[in-house]
Amino acid sequence: MLRFSSVVRLSAVKTSIVIALAVTVSGCQKSETDDAQNGSVKAPASSATFTGALRNNEDLSISANLIDTAQLGTAVDGEGSYTVFLPVNDAWESLDAAERNAIEAKENKPQLIAVLRQHIAPGYVLATDLERGLSEKDGSVTLNTMGAMPVTLRREGEAIMLGKGTDAPRIVGLPIVAGNDVIYRIDKLIPPQS
């Protein structure tokens, strides 16, 4: 595959801010920065870039491989700023085999990219931003995506879920700040519209 030094340069200039989000998403009301600086909680793995963060987090290795297959790593590492909801490995592994094969089939890369784009939102949404928005919007907020439709995030007890229903994917673990991007782990793929 052709690579350009310019593109590499674009990736390299991403901000190296690696402030670990030192709070869980649920119940997070304090500044991530403050928490990290105070050392009040255990800092999660983090990286200067989106792709670097994926390499550092084994539970996201399948998503990392698919991002690589889709050639979207350079896009997210580049100049734009994104919030990415990435399924953990268990989420991919729980898919029906035929579905997973169809998404990952070499000839179906447009579909793979469409699935991944549905998990990418514009901008840099920290856990504190999410908490604040949920508090101000009665527990439900909408984020536009790079995919086919927006995604609604809603509070359900202590969990934050994406979409409707009790089976909707939920945010798990600690978010990762990587350069100008924020990564949230989710336990399932965002399901297609029924």
Binding site: M1, L2, R3, F4, S6, V7, R9, L10, V13, T15, S16, I17, Q71, L72, T74, A75, V76, G78, E79, G80, S81, Y82, T83, E99, A102, I103, A105, N108, K109, P110, Q111, I113, A114, R117, Q118, I120, A121, P122, G123, Y124, V125, D129, L130, R132, G133, T142, L143, N144, T145, M146, G147, A148, M149, P150, V177, G179, N180, L189, P192, Q193
Partner: protein, 330 residues
């Protein structure tokens, strides 16, 4: 079983990348040549610019460039190079007469700054729970195929395309992310979407898709000319003599200007429609300004800020009316 697809992103393919509303006005005013194509070079007839940043303008630039800020780990730095005018800035200049008049009277009427969007601008809307893109108008052909009476395919291949269905594609339910499922005249085959006339069964349009024909290592589709990139986005994503930028299917591509080979996907864009004086698009409930700009553009009781596609937008937190479009690169 749905056997015909309207692909969610394909409408965007034929339409030039939108800048915020103000940017569109430039072309309508006939100021000339602002919508550049990467293949046409980056210089064109753009003029060397001066900052238009002032309190009365709807457009302003952040201090320092996005890249420079990134390189300096958050420290604000002024980029030391001159910059060409963007269509946004040129719109702002064109609107200054009214602005000055308003300022003289001590009143700045934001609504008056609203501009008409170029009809060819690439934007999406939200309809029936999904994004809706305008129908593409690209009628080019895949590499090596001339446009013929059957659309642009040899009769045999055209029949094959018409016969395509989901089973042949072997797609899962997740393919609904890929299709709108509301139109009966689109098919997918080997990296392209085909629009088929339901009456004549002739292939009318061929659209290259991200992940299909539009993918690193492929040549940019021959004859596919709808890839306009605004001068601002050329600066934002970093076009230079070694990398030309092209835009299609919601993605920005780096293309070798000599070989026309696609090198990488260098950005994803929403195409959401932000207009000064109009309500902000839905789907921006959360503060999302990139880290380097949070001090400068922090939400308050009087102002809200949102990021999208390389811009920060100032929004009235009560009315949700967009007040300013803020460029992040010099």
């Amino acid at each position: 079983m749905r056997n015909l697809m309207l692909l969610a992103g394909i409408a965007a393919l034929s339409l030039p990348l939108s800048s915020p509303a103000s940017a569109q006005d430039k072309g309508q005013k006939g100021n000339g040549g602002e919508k550049s194509k990467s293949s046409q070079g980056n210089g064109g007839d753009r003029k060397s610019g001066s900052s238009n940043k002032n309190s009365g303008q709807s457009i302003e630039r952040a201090q320092g460039s996005f890249k420079e800020l990134s390189r300096s780990n958050g420290k604000f730095e002024k980029a030391g190079r001159s910059r060409p005018d963007s269509p946004v800035e040129n719109f702002a200049r064109g609107d200054r007469k009214n602005e000055r008049q308003a300022e003289k009277s001590g009143v700045v009427d934001i609504a008056r700054r609203e501009v008409r969007r170029d009809d060819s601008a690439r934007t999406r809307s939200f309809e029936n729970g999904r994004y809706a893109w305008r129908e593409p108008n690209f009628e080019g052909c895949p590499p090596g195929l001339a446009k013929k009476n059957n659309g642009c395919l040899p009769p045999g291949q055209a029949r094959k395309v018409v016969a395509l269905n989901d089973q042949q594609l072997n797609w899962s339910r997740y393919s609904s992310w890929f299709s709108q499922g509301q139109s009966s005249d689109w098919r997918y085959d080997q990296g392209y979407a085909y629009r088929v006339d339901p009456t004549s069964n002739l292939v009318q349009s061929v659209i290259p898709l991200l992940g299909g024909a539009l993918f690193g290592g492929n040549a940019w589709p021959q004859g596919y000319t709808d890839y306009q990139v605004s001068p601002y986005h050329e600066r934002f994503f970093g076009a230079d003599q070694n990398i030309a930028l092209r835009y299609a299917d919601g993605a920005m591509f780096g293309v070798d200007p000599k070989t026309q080979m696609i090198g990488s996907i260098i950005g994803l864009l929403t195409g959401d429609n932000w207009n000064v004086g109009s309500p902000a698009p839905q789907g921006y409930d959360l503060y999302n300004v990139p880290s380097n700009y949070r001090d400068q553009y922090a939400d308050s009781a009087n102002n809200a800020y949102r990021y999208n596609d390389g811009y920060v937008y100032e929004v009235d937190p009560t009315t949700q009316i967009v007040r300013k479009i803020i460029e992040l690169v010099v």
